[in-house]
């Protein structure tokens, strides 16, 4: 009697487990296609054109007395908090959708801002750097960004950042879809440094991980430098 009971219980448990696993798989598969969009917000530490606009508005309304310099420092935060308090908003010193709406400005996520050519390039290159070199030392990340920019300048490659990154078979992370991961702050920082002229590779056009490189051709390139797991070559 007891043996039979245990046996049936085991069957029931297995059926339930399979059901749970299947339902989880279906849920994950379906939810995996959804794009979660973070709301754009501007806060202390940010800088740029939109910060200038916020400072200008706050100054015009008497909330801000500092310089219109596009730097979101403590003075700007204080002014935003004052503005939020007066207007019955959540007082956090961050310009999110509601605060922006009250200010009469339209927030754009800087990473997908269609108005700035440069923002798009930074975002795309940061995605490439993150996908190709997350886990590498910071200099290695700057070096990867610099290689992409060196290719843009070279006559042997396409003339735009998008052209270089999406050139077929150029980057593993593009081929396997890792390019679609959201970059972290370190990748952005590395890209900004590279775009401002930092190039630890001194002009290299290629890099590869010697442990995983499958192309024999890549070994024919002249290696100039090794940073982290990557060999940089011309």
């Amino acid at each position: 009697m007891m043996k039979d009971q245990v046996f049936v219980m085991q069957i029931v448990s297995i059926v339930l487990l399979v059901v749970v696993v299947l339902l989880t798989a279906v849920f994950l598969s379906l939810s995996g296609n959804e794009q979660v969009q973070d709301c754009a917000k501007i806060q202390q530490g940010n800088s740029g054109k939109q910060v200038k606009l916020i400072q200008q508005k706050l100054k015009n309304w008497g909330y801000y007395e500092g310089e219109i310099d596009g730097i979101y420092g403590s003075g700007t935060t204080k002014a935003v908090r004052k503005f939020q308090k007066v207007n019955g908003l959540n007082v956090d010193g961050i310009v999110g959708d509601k605060t922006a709406q009250k200010m009469g400005i339209s927030l754009q996520n800087s990473s997908s801002n269609g108005s700035s050519y440069n923002s798009q390039d930074v975002y795309l290159l940061a995605k490439c750097v993150y996908a190709e070199s997350r886990g590498e030392p910071y200099t290695g990340q700057v070096a990867v960004a610099a290689v992409v920019l060196n290719r843009v300048r070279s006559s042997s490659f396409p003339n735009t950042i998008a052209g270089v990154i999406y050139q077929p078979y150029a980057f593993t992370a593009v081929a396997d879809g890792q390019i679609n991961l959201e970059p972290n702050q370190s990748a952005y920082n590395a890209v900004r440094d590279a775009m401002n002229g930092w190039d630890p590779t001194n002009g290299c056009l290629y890099y590869f991980n010697p442990a995983t490189a499958t192309s024999s051709w890549i070994w024919s390139r002249e290696i100039k430098l090794t940073i982290g797991k990557h060999n940089f070559a011309v």
């Binding site: 009697m1 039979d4 009971q5 049936v8 219980m9 029931v12 059926v15 399979v18 299947l22 339902l23 279906v26 598969s29 379906l30 202390q44 530490g45 940010n46 800088s47 740029g48 310099d69 596009g70 730097i71 420092g73 403590s74 754009q108 700035s116 050519y117 440069n118 923002s119 930074v122 910071y138 200099t139 006559s155 042997s156 490659f157 396409p158 003339n159 735009t160 052209g163 270089v164 050139q167 077929p168 078979y169 150029a170 702050q185 952005y188 920082n189 590395a190 900004r192 440094d193 401002n196 002229g197 930092w198 190039d199 630890p200 001194n202 002009g203 051709w217 430098l225 940073i227 011309v234």
Partner: protein, 455 residues
């Protein structure tokens, strides 16, 4: 859960029966939903695949059109002689070559032959741009220029024909991806024949106007005694002004035009960065610390002053701020050597200043390393500042005029007047030759969320 009936057979209790029925229904539902999802997903993949294939095919046909345009216009250039028409045709070649490079970069390139084709196409466009500028400066094309156009035509014709033949070969169900891969070798053979023949094409273009690297230039600052990796600390400490170095670790050699040593360092306050110094002379070519600013405490003006103080402390004398831009509250500053009222753009270092800590967190000095000289010849301006002031700038209001030396595409230097002005909300930098007053360059400052950009 289980019990026996009167005949001793095991039967399920009611709750167990219900549980099993529910579990079975859930399992069937899950399988059905999963099957439906996989079906939808696969059909979506099919659509994506077709779309990708269509885009690929479209790119190929656009490319064939671009090469045909290049070929036709190069052909026409062999017979026209008026400057205006020549410029018009050259512009067409430039535009077609740019479009062709974009399309080539999207096509399959499983080996390196495609990059040779990209290089040829870019170079042809660059050469035509060079000829356009020549004509724009009232200089006529020479016989050699015309002869080169003829050779470029022959070459483009061959490539264009080969490219078009891929489409012919895959008519009736062939695959363009495989077709192009197969023809990569043909492109390579044609280009090899061209480059190995009597035509000195790459050197003609790249030794002249459009040299695309620093390989022919000797760095002026790589002089002196050799630095040993074990005694490089003194040079590094001198460059990292304001930091106490706790740990220093040699990472690698870099072999380029000159050898550099790459070190990793850790400061007393725990920041980690890297620094590169030249093996000969110990000039620091770059150093960098990752910097994230969450609470900016310093203004832009204070940041600029920090940049000036850094240069003085690091032994870079007479440096002047020529450009600055803020990105995520890090201030990027370009500083150039200045002497005798002239600012030298080739002698540039770039600094990154954290507006949170007020410290320099990055330095890049490769341009300075290649170009810096204390004294230069031929720095006399024939055109005076007063003449520059009276120049016709249309509606632009001038705010500053200064004498500067700029690098040229020919890897030479040119003395020019830099005129800063505004038209509406846009800022411009206009460069006039200091000898004849001709406009040589114009840049526009584009303000964006990532800082200011010069275009």
């Amino acid at each position: 859960m289980l019990e026996k009936d009167e005949k001793g057979r095991i039967i399920m209790t009611k709750p167990l029966s219900i549980l099993l029925i529910v579990a079975t229904i859930l399992a069937i539902s899950a399988i059905t939903v999963l099957a439906a999802f996989l079906w939808v997903n696969n059909s979506e993949n099919g659509v994506w695949l077709r779309n990708a294939n269509n885009m690929y095919n479209g790119t190929y046909y656009d490319l064939v059109g671009d090469f045909l345009q290049m070929e036709t216009n190069l052909s026409k250039l062999r017979v026209v002689s008026s400057s205006g028409l020549r410029q018009e045709l050259l512009l067409e070649v430039v535009l077609s070559s740019q479009s062709a490079v974009n399309n080539l970069s999207r096509l399959s390139a499983t080996n390196q032959n495609m990059s040779e084709l990209i290089k040829y196409t870019n170079q042809t466009g660059d050469y035509c741009k060079f000829l356009m500028r020549k004509l724009g400066s009232d200089i006529e094309l020479t016989d050699e220029d015309v002869e080169m156009i003829g050779k470029l035509y022959d070459m483009t014709y061959q490539l264009s024909t080969t490219l078009a033949s891929i489409g012919e070969k895959v008519k009736g169900g062939g695959d363009l991806v495989q077709g192009i891969d197969k023809f990569n070798t043909s492109f390579s053979d044609i280009l090899l024949e061209f480059n190995n023949g009597s035509v000195q094409y790459p050197s003609l273009i790249y030794d002249g106007a459009f040299s695309d690297s620093l390989v022919d230039k000797e760095p002026t600052m790589v002089v002196g005694e050799k630095v040993d990796p074990t005694n490089a600390r003194a040079y590094i400490v001198n460059a990292l002004v304001g930091y106490e170095i706790k740990n220093l670790e040699f990472v690698a050699h870099s072999y380029n035009k000159f050898t550099t040593f790459l070190y990793k360092f850790e400061t007393a306050d725990g920041q980690v960065g890297s620094i590169q110094i030249a093996e000969v002379g110990g000039f620091v070519t770059m150093w960098d610390i990752e910097s994230e600013v969450n609470n900016p405490q310093f203004s832009k003006e204070e940041g600029l002053e920090i940049a000036r103080q850094y240069c003085n402390g690091a032994g870079l004398r007479n440096m002047q701020v020529v450009w600055s831009s803020i990105s995520d509250s890090n201030l990027y500053v370009n500083m150039c050597y200045s002497s005798g009222g002239v600012t030298f753009y080739p002698d540039m270092v770039k600094l990154k200043i954290s507006l949170q800590t007020g410290k320099v967190v990055g330095y890049e000095g490769l341009n300075y390393c290649y170009n810096h000289k204390e004294n230069r010849d031929n720095l006399t301006a024939t055109i005076t500042k007063e003449q520059v002031q009276n120049y016709d700038y249309k509606d632009m209001s001038v705010s500053d005029i200064k004498l500067v030396v700029i690098p040229t595409e020919w890897k030479t230097e040119r003395l020019v007047w830099e005129v800063t002005g505004k038209l509406g909300e846009w800022q411009f930098l206009v460069y006039l030759d200091a000898k004849d007053g001709k406009e040589v360059r114009i840049l526009q400052v584009v303000e964006g969320d990532e800082g200011n950009l010069l275009m």
